[in-house]
Structure formats: C-alpha cells, structure tokens
C-alpha cells in the first residue's frame, strides 16, 4: 500500500465503525466491543499516520485519483496530525468512559454510531484540503453533536439543543455564503490553489479586496464553533445538557476544529494575500494584519468573561463550561500576536497548539470527573456536593491534576502552554497581552481553588458520604491524568511535534507542492 493511502485510513476506520455499530444494534455486547475496537483502531491509524508525517512530510491522497484541484484532496501535514493525535487521545478514554456511563438503552439506540460519526466529521475537517469539504465535514460533525446534545431528551436538554442547533444552522448558512464568495472571487475551492492564487493575484485575475470581507465572514463561523466571545452563548447550556463523555469530546476535540480552521486558513492560506489595510490601529498590508487587533479583542473578552462567569457558578458542570470560554481566549491570544507580528508566528502558533493540547486533555478529564461525580452523587451542585476528597480519593486526585494543568503548575502540560503564551507576549513586547494572560491565570486559579474548596475539601454531605464510583470510569480518569503528567514531564517530543506543526502551518510552499496542483491554461487541461 502506498504511504499516501494512510491519509484516508483514520476516516475509513471511523466510518466503518459507525456503520457496523449501527448494524449491530440488536446485539449490544457485540456493538460495544466493535465500537471499542473501532476507536482503538482509529487511535492506532492516527499513530501510524503521525509517524509517517512527522517530521516534515506532507502526505496527500487524491480521492478517486482525480488530480488536484479538480478532485477532492486529503492532506495530512504535521498540523493536521497534531490535531488528530489530540482527538484520538481524548476519544479513546471518552468512549470507554461512556460504555459505563451512558445507559444501556441509549447505547443500544444510537450512542455508538453517533460518537463515531462525530469522529468522522472531526477527522475529515482536520484532513481535508478543500474548503467546501470543510463545510461538509463540519456538517457531519455538527449533525452528530446535535443529537448527542439532546441525548437525554429532558426539558433542559431540548432547550439547550434548540439554541445550539439554530445557531449552528445559521452559522452553516453563513459559511456557505463565504465559501461561495471565495469560489467566485478566486475561482477554486482547493486550499492550496487558493493560496497560490492569492499569492499572485494579478496572474490569475483575482481581486483580493473581497477576500478580506469573505474571510471575516468565515472567521465568524469558526469563532462560533470554537466558542469565542461574542459567539459563546450556546456553550454553557449545550455542555451542561450533553452526556459527560460527549461534553469531554465537545470541549476537547470539536471546539478545537474551529481553532484548527483558523490556524490553517488564516495563517496558511489567506496570509498569502496582501491587501492595503488602512484602519486606525492596524498596520501592515497582509490580510492577517486586520485579524491581529480583532483576535486580541476577542481573546481578551473571552478570557475575562469566561473566567469571571466561571467564578460565579455554583455547580462544577457550569463552572467548567464557562472556564472553557475563558481558556479558548488563551489559545486565541498568541494567534492575535502572531497575526500582528510575522516574526513571532512560529513560537506563537506553538503556544496556541500546546495550549490546545493542554486544554483538550485537562478539560476532557475535568468534564469526565464532573460526570463521575454527577453519576454517584446525583448532582454537581456545590451546595450538595462536598468532601469528595474523603470518599473518592482517586477522582479527587484526577480533578487536582486536571485543575492544576488548567492553572499551569509545572511539570504538567498546562505549565508549558501558559509558559509559551507568556513567552509570546513578552517577545512581542505586548503589555496588553501580558496583562490579559496574567489576569486570566489569576481567574483560573480562583475558580479552580473555589471548586476545590467547595466540592472536594470539607466534610462529606448526605449526597457524598457513601458513594462508589465505577472502577472503569475512574480508570479512564487516571489514564487522562497520567497523560497530562507524562506529556508534561517528557515535554521535549511534544514540543518538537508542536514545532513541526507550527512550521507546517506557516510553510505554504511545502503544502502547495505536496498537493501537486495541475495547472489550468486557457480553460483546458495543461
């Protein structure tokens, strides 16, 4: 098998698993077994892809052997596989957790196929080299998450799902508009082709000015998926409504698709275009120069809003959901600096990626902790839950690891995430960036210690005095906690991986070369 075919394997495994779990509805044990094997196979295929791509290779797979840009291209470079590695790392424990967590009826009905279709959508989004297919994979991912958010079907869940669905449907319409506009402007949908044409607009007769507006429209959609303020209002309700392992996937993986799309499209594709921007406070002639201040404001508001709202929450679920909004600000902050200062793009994207990895692992772990607590105590309300450290030491320990990773205590992954964010701000000489990061860090310490004091410390209450968490679920908490510790202690390979991903995101030429565009001349095949 040619090495390029590896690119399609994770997707094929996820699709096949989704289908066989759908067909084996009648035999729940078989279904669960296949689902488990499927997610393991997915992780294994991602691991193989990672070793084939890192360092520095770009693998492409042309669907149906149609040459780019006529066919659909799948591209795996270091950035794509970095994100895939995150999704595989979160998906395996989340799936095993849900086998014990989600009720028998729900699992038999539709849980496993939906989970795998969500993985299909995520994987497709990370691998596609075609902007319209990005839309299609987004839809595949979203449609599964719609159903997963409403999974329990109670009054509160339908309300959350309604908001989530309507917002995302409007978002999809906007995305379609932006893509249609980009196609009309650049004459192509292939990302590598768009980059090529934007780099030399005169040769292809491309008018670059509309691209700025269209990319801004597209940015709104990605910001909506990533849950950046002011597009965050669906996040708390949807995260609270979905089953805990699904929330872990939503916060850990699905949200990161928006981040990935921003890095890939704005730093890899639109960065090629030059538009004279003459707005107050914006310098430079790159399309990206426009996004620097925009992202900075969004990141600042996200950090402040998410942090302050998290402190005000009286339940672990809600606290974590709002914290998710604040933490996404930490990912966007270095990107804002990267957009403004071209020299710092390498380190800034490393910062964003390391923070993404940390947030994915830590937040997935914390949501699973919240799920475990809710299952045994019936609620995550701090008024009812207290003294968990006495009765559930392993769960408490996992919460501590996840919480400290969010705060950024060495040697956990969170320390390096925060370190790189601060490093980027210092290198940029951005006082504003430092203040935001510092303020956000203080807010994080406040809400994590508040959750710790109220939920885990103190005397057990009637709800928590005789609880007995499921050992498999606890084992998955330990797996994620260990991953955070091990990746933090052995950070060097993670850094090299993130660095390769950052270089891949910025190296347009390598990306374009790998896609091997067929040149059009005079409307006919060359």
């Amino acid at each position: 098998m040619p090495v390029n075919h590896l690119v399609a394997v994770p997707m094929l495994i996820a699709i096949s698993t989704a289908i066989v779990t759908l067909l084996t509805k009648g035999a729940p044990r078989v279904q669960r077994g296949l689902s488990f094997l499927g997610v393991l196979g997915y992780a294994a295929s991602v691991a193989v892809l990672v070793t084939a791509v890192v360092p520095g290779n770009v693998l492409t797979y042309q669907l149906g052997a149609w040459p780019a840009p006529f066919g659909i291209t799948l591209v795996a470079d270091s950035l794509s596989v970095f994100m895939l590695a995150i999704s595989a790392t979160v998906a395996v424990p989340a799936l095993v957790f849900s086998v014990r967590f989600v009720d028998e009826f729900g699992q038999r009905l539709s849980y496993h196929p939906l989970f795998h279709f969500m993985l299909v959508g995520v994987t497709g989004s990370f691998l596609t080299g075609d902007i319209f297919n990005l839309f299609v994979w987004f839809e595949v991912m979203l449609m599964s998450t719609y159903v997963l958010v409403v999974f329990y079907g109670g009054a509160e869940h339908t309300r959350a799902a309604l908001n989530y669905v309507v917002l995302n449907l409007v978002g999809s319409a906007v995305m379609l508009l932006a893509i249609g506009g980009l196609y009309a402007t650049t004459g192509t949908l292939n990302m590598a082709d768009i980059a090529t044409r934007l780099a030399d607009p005169a040769a292809y007769g491309v008018d670059v000015a509309p691209v700025l507006g269209l990319s801004a429209l597209l940015f709104v959609v990605f910001a909506l998926k990533a849950g950046i303020v002011p597009f965050q209002f669906w996040v708390p309700a949807a995260y609270k409504a979905a089953p805990a392992p699904v929330t872990a996937m939503l916060a850990g993986v699905v949200k990161k698709v928006g981040v990935y799309a921003i890095i890939r499209l704005y730093f890899g594709v639109f960065a090629a275009a030059t538009v004279p921007v003459s707005l107050p406070g914006i310098s430079g002639d790159s399309v990206l120069a426009f996004y620097g201040p925009v992202m900075f404001v969004l990141a600042t508001v996200s950090v402040v809003f998410g942090g302050v709202a998290a402190i005000g929450r009286d339940d672990l679920d809600g606290l974590l959901a709002y914290s998710s909004i604040g933490q996404i600000g930490f990912i966007i902050l270095p990107l804002a600096i990267a957009a403004t200062i071209p020299d710092l793009r390498g380190i800034a994207i490393v910062a964003a990626l390391v923070y993404t990895l940390n947030h994915a692992l830590a937040k997935a772990l914390l949501f699973l902790v919240a799920g475990t607590v809710e299952e045994v105590a019936g609620t995550t309300d701090f008024h009812a839950v207290s003294g968990l450290s006495r009765v559930a030491p392993v769960v408490t320990g996992s919460f501590l690891v996840g919480g400290l990773a969010l705060v950024g205590i060495p040697p956990l992954t969170g320390f390096f995430g925060k370190l790189f964010v601060f490093q980027t701000a210092v290198d940029a000489g951005s006082t504003g960036g430092l203040i935001v990061a510092l303020f956000g860090a203080i807010l994080t310490i406040m809400y994590i210690s508040r959750a710790w004091n109220r939920g885990f410390w103190g005397e057990p209450t009637t709800a928590t005095e005789s609880i007995d968490p499921d050992p498999t679920e606890v084992a998955m908490l330990v797996v994620l906690a260990l991953a955070i510790v091990l990746l933090g202690v052995g950070f060097d390979p993670v850094y090299r991986f993130a660095d390769a991903a950052s270089q891949a995101a910025l190296d347009q030429q390598a990306y374009v070369d790998a896609v091997q565009l067929q040149v059009l001349s005079g409307g006919e095949h060359a």
Partner: protein
C-alpha cells in the same frame, strides 16, 4: 448575450436580498416553528447565492462544450454539485430541527421561545 445575462443576475440579486431579509426576520421570531422556517429559508438563499456565483450568464449545458461554443458560454457545473450537496445537508438539518421542535413542544408544552426560557 450580455443583455440576457444582466437581467437574471439583477433579478437574482433582488430575490436574494428579499430571501435573506425574510429568513433573518423569521429567525428572530419567538415562535420556534417560524425560527426553523427562517433557518430553512436562510440556508436555501445561501444555495441560490451559490448558483449565482457560478456565472449564471452561461447558456450551454456542459456536455455540448466539446467542439463548439466559446469558453464562458458554459454554466459552471461545479456550483451545481455544491448546491446539491448543500441541499441534501439542508434537508437533513431542517428535518432534525422540526423533530426537535416537536420534542420541545412535548417537553415544554409551548413553542414560544420566551416561555421556554422560563422553564428550568
């Protein structure tokens, strides 16, 4: 050909404007069914917009391109493929949104978004 090409584009631009305003108006209603209608209209107007992007001026089907007709007389086939995909996705999501509306009605006993918010 220019005369016949300008007219449909002007008409389409007006239609698009009307559709988008209607969709936006409906999405902002309190009645959930109207919101779903609004979303459906918005996504369909995005589809119409996509078709418009494919240079509506073309008058020749793609297959007759061989052997005759200058470049530019062909309507872009790609946008039609895109629109078909988008339509299928739109049907799926609209169906889901309608089922969800019914479920919301069952759970809350109302489809007024203001009243739904009060239930907790």
């Amino acid at each position: 050909m220019t005369g016949s090409a300008v007219l449909p584009e002007t008409v389409l631009a007006i239609v698009l404007g009307v559709l988008f305003s209607l969709g936006t108006f409906l999405v902002l209603r309190r009645d959930v069914v109207r919101v779903v209608w609004g979303v459906a209209i918005l996504s369909q107007s995005a589809n119409v917009y996509l078709v418009t992007m494919g240079h509506i001026g073309g008058s020749v089907p793609v297959l007759s391109h061989h052997g005759g007709g200058g470049h530019g007389a062909v309507t872009d086939p790609l946008v039609q493929a895109l629109v078909l995909t988008a339509i299928v996705i739109g049907f799926g999501t609209t169906a889901f949104a309608l089922v969800l509306t019914y479920r919301v009605y069952e759970e809350h006993g109302t489809i007024d978004t203001a009243e739904i918010r009060e239930v907790r």
